[in-house]
């Protein structure tokens, strides 16, 4: 636990002054994600530690290099949790990395994404200035929402130094039901229309997995209502799904993530599928070409990310959207110093 903010600011300033691009690295567990950055590394993992946590507030503030594991342990001791279940992809995973990559786990459709829970941040921008946005309170409409803009920006807009997040109580009870599913999309999607406490729903190798969480009685009533077998050791199943350790993720074929509306039809692509997020996040292991996958994703109103594999990682930005992105990048990082190309080759 250390505060190395001044040191990081000096390093950023000198990179800005000399026009040397830098690649921001914390735990390095998600370096496979996004495009490769050829730049000098800026190591931020040393900037770590929980700055403020009071369970009554449902808010935690921590430095970017704080390990997710540490945060989750501390929250767990007060029966609280990060509601968006961030994937770690390794023990070294940090809060800064989780927020910069904007990744959320199985509970996302029911409890919100990482950006939904970000309340405030402290950053170094491309002028070498340390700035604070948002705060530690749930309701705050002063100024543009820079904290959420930083979430999922892959470090291209600045260095995240400190982040405040909303947390939630751990549910009193939780279990997972498993049942065979021939037509999983309508089934998974339909669950959210009913007043039942579903907080994860996935289709893996022919089986629908439904996690129920809430008060003891609510979970037990919903189990009776839905039917199906109760999965033993269900926490391990969801953790393996989140961390991409299930057998599905094992093959060497490129891994695509297709995000769409939950009831969208399955895209017409060859490969093996796994459905998460109640239908709205679909994983595809496929040798299909990039153009083919992106086109199929667009055809169902979604977008495709090449999660693991060689090629452009993110779905291209079209027309005015691309122009706005480049101008925003320039508004934060006029010299193009931070993580150039990580998100899109143009910036």
């Amino acid at each position: 636990m250390a505060d190395i903010e001044r040191r990081l600011q000096e390093l950023a300033k000198s990179a800005i002054d000399s026009g040397t691009p830098i690649a921001i690295i914390a735990g390095g567990t998600k370096s496979f994600l996004g495009n490769r950055v050829a730049a000098e590394p800026l190591h931020v993992a040393g900037h770590s530690g929980i700055v403020d946590y009071d369970p009554r507030e449902l808010v935690i503030t921590a430095r970017c290099g704080t390990k997710l594991e540490e945060i989750e342990q501390v929250l767990s001791a007060s029966s609280q949790m990060l509601p968006f279940e961030p994937p770690r992809f390794g023990g070294a995973a940090t809060l800064g990395g989780a927020v910069a990559c904007g990744l959320s786990g199985p509970r996302r459709p029911y409890a919100g994404s990482v950006r939904d829970h970000v309340l405030g941040c402290r950053i170094i921008n491309g002028r070498g200035e340390i700035l604070n946005f948002g705060g530690k309170v749930m309701k705050n409409v002063a100024g543009f929402d820079v904290s959420r803009l930083m979430t999922g920006a892959f470090g291209t807009l600045g260095v995240l130094l400190e982040i405040s997040l909303r947390v939630l109580p751990r549910p009193a009870a939780s279990l997972t039901l498993v049942r065979e599913c021939r037509d999983p999309v309508p089934y998974l999607c339909g669950l959210a229309s009913k007043p039942i406490p579903v907080d994860a729903a996935a289709h893996v190798e022919g089986l629908c997995h439904i996690r129920l969480s809430g008060s003891v009685r609510a979970v037990s009533e919903a189990r009776n209502q839905l039917g199906g077998d109760t999965l033993d050791g269900h926490e391990i199943f969801w953790e393996d799904l989140r961390e991409q350790r299930l057998p599905f993720f094992g093959s060497d074929a490129p891994l695509w993530r297709i995000a769409s509306g939950p009831s969208a039809p399955m895209p017409n692509l060859q490969g093996t599928w796994m459905i998460d997020w109640g239908g709205s996040q679909r994983w595809l292991k496929s040798m299909a070409g990039e153009g083919e996958v992106r086109q199929a994703a667009e055809a169902i109103g979604g977008h495709a990310t090449l999660f693991r594999g060689e090629g452009n990682a993110f779905h291209p930005l079209k027309g005015a959207l691309g122009v706005l992105h480049q101008r925003l990048k320039a508004a934060f990082d006029p010299k193009g110093i931070f993580n150039p190309g990580r998100l899109y080759p143009e910036f």
Binding site: E57, P109, M138, K139, P169
Partner: protein, 489 residues
């Protein structure tokens, strides 16, 4: 900015040719209804009011105004409380009132696609036959529009559990000042690139004009139940708020009123409130039947343990709506017991509630002005109402100084100057206290990325670096709230 004479004439002519005579208002009596929003102390007549009906017309207007260098202010229902839709003298006001169509309700995906001029409540009404509703419920929901809600990132009583507008949006269609139509988001849970959806939400009309909105709909909870807990000490009530959360329960709403507000509301609404109590908490729990039963028991226990002198559970739907009626009529009720009042809108971390309420009480003694506290306790969003008489010698000045101290206190406690009413023109000065020059410069850089000429709602939401003076507050004279028929809470 000055824009008169022949330039003005030729712009009006071009706008008339584009939109039709009846959609370009320029006569003083036609402009008057648009001279202010819900913050009526600020009034200005624009050069013209435009009433476009199609996205192409909005694009055309913005291109034309961009070419002429004329500023544009977009307006929904004009119910905002911070002057965000205040017209500019040398600018045009673009009303989106004709964009009032619900385009689609998709009960399977649980989304609604609507035009920006659709009223907030109309979305839930249209979704109701499918057992669905739109969660954010600002107090003005019968009149305010979804476009305005997005621009202000509106909240409501149920934010604690269901979030603000930003948490309930899926997609926007936005026209930039250059007239470009940009689609942000989709039916998918996220989109490629930067989170422009979050950036647009709450941007107070500075970045683009919203022409279509897609929102999430939620399944109606099986049951909702309200508890009323009375306390003989404000501090105990404030501590009970944290205790409920610590017990692992997220109420759908958790509201607090102090004695002055309780008595005013009871006189006005006859909600059956305990008028002798120093404070009451209203706690709404929703979810499945079983869950609500379990949580009602638990909250009752927590309240009693925190020192509640009485805990009531609404016996039926009628009593539940009476409990809420008292709370929702608190603003107009306070308006009846004082010639004037100032409404503040700061947010503080919940744990500081007892201290902040005590310090407000001691400030009240210092300034010799009464304060009624009625607010969203669950998320620390305060609405202290300072009672005063503008005709009293120096009272307005004393009230403003009092308000300034309250907002400084919110910042000192790690909070914010505005939880839900927005900055608009009202809190420009307070922004200088919350943000340093580098942060404000970053906001201006974001604005320029979307609107390089600075023509979209200029001068609102983010103060120039030159400007740093005093705080503002909502000033209500003689209890005359603008949109007095709307419930304000």
């Amino acid at each position: 900015m000055q824009f008169g004479g022949s330039g003005r004439e030729s712009l009006i002519l071009a706008l008339r040719a584009m939109l039709g005579e009846e959609s370009v208002l320029t006569e003083k009596e036609e402009l008057a209804p648009f001279e202010c929003d819900g913050l009526s102390v600020y009034r200005k007549l624009p050069m013209a009011v435009l009433l476009p009906s199609t996205v192409e017309e909005v694009q055309g207007v913005l291109r034309l105004c961009s070419d002429h260098g004329v500023p544009v202010v977009a307006r929904g229902a004009g119910t905002g409380l911070s002057g965000g839709a205040l017209p500019l003298k040398d600018g045009v006001l673009m009303s989106l009132s004709r964009f009032d169509r619900i385009i689609d309700i998709d009960p399977v995906q649980r989304i609604a696609t609507i035009q920006p001029g659709v009223r907030n409540l109309a979305i839930s009404e249209a979704a109701a036959p499918h057992g669905l509703y739109y969660a954010p419920d600002p107090s003005s929901q019968i009149a305010c529009t979804i476009g305005g809600n997005v621009a202000e990132n509106s909240g409501g009583v149920h934010c604690l559990k269901y979030g603000l507008t930003v948490h309930n949006l899926l997609a926007l269609k936005v026209v930039t000042m250059e007239g470009e139509l940009v689609e942000i988001g989709s039916g998918a849970p996220d989109s490629q690139g930067y989170d422009l959806l979050a950036l647009m939400t709450g941007s107070e009309g500075l970045l683009g004009v919203i022409v279509e909105v897609t929102v999430k709909l939620l399944a109606r909870p099986e049951r909702a139940q309200v508890l009323l807990a009375a306390f003989d000490d404000v501090r105990h009530a404030a501590e009970a708020v944290g205790a409920v959360i610590s017990a692992g329960i997220i109420p759908a709403g958790l509201e607090m009123m102090d004695n002055l507000a309780i008595r005013a509301a009871e006189d006005f609404a006859h909600a059956g409130y305990p008028v002798g109590a120093e404070a009451i908490l209203l706690c709404e729990l929703d979810g499945t039947n079983a869950e609500v039963s379990e949580h009602v028991m638990k909250v009752r226990e927590v309240m009693q343990h925190a020192g509640a002198t009485e805990v009531r559970t609404a016996r039926d739907e009628e009593e539940r709506s009476m409990f809420w009626k008292g709370r929702k009529s608190a603003f107009p009720a306070v308006g009846r017991i004082s010639p004037d009042y100032y409404c503040m809108d700061g947010t503080i971390p919940r744990r500081n509630l007892p201290e902040v309420l005590e310090r407000i009480a001691s400030l009240s003694r210092k300034y010799g002005l009464r304060v009624a506290n009625v607010f969203h306790a669950g998320d620390g969003n305060l609405h202290p109402l300072i009672l005063f008489d503008a005709n009293g010698e120096g009272e307005l000045e004393r009230t403003e100084a009092f308000g300034r101290e309250i907002l400084s206190l919110c910042i000192e406690m790690g909070g914010t100057i505005t939880g839900e009413h927005g900055v608009g023109v009202e809190k420009l000065d307070s922004m200088c206290l919350q943000f340093n020059p580098a942060e404000l410069a970053q906001f201006h850089a974001i604005k320029s990325a979307f609107d390089q000429k600075g023509l979209l709602n200029p001068g609102k939401a983010v103060p120039t670096l030159h400007r740093c003076a005093e705080f503002g507050a909502m000033h209500v004279h003689e209890g005359n709230l603008p949109h007095a028929h709307l419930e304000r809470f």
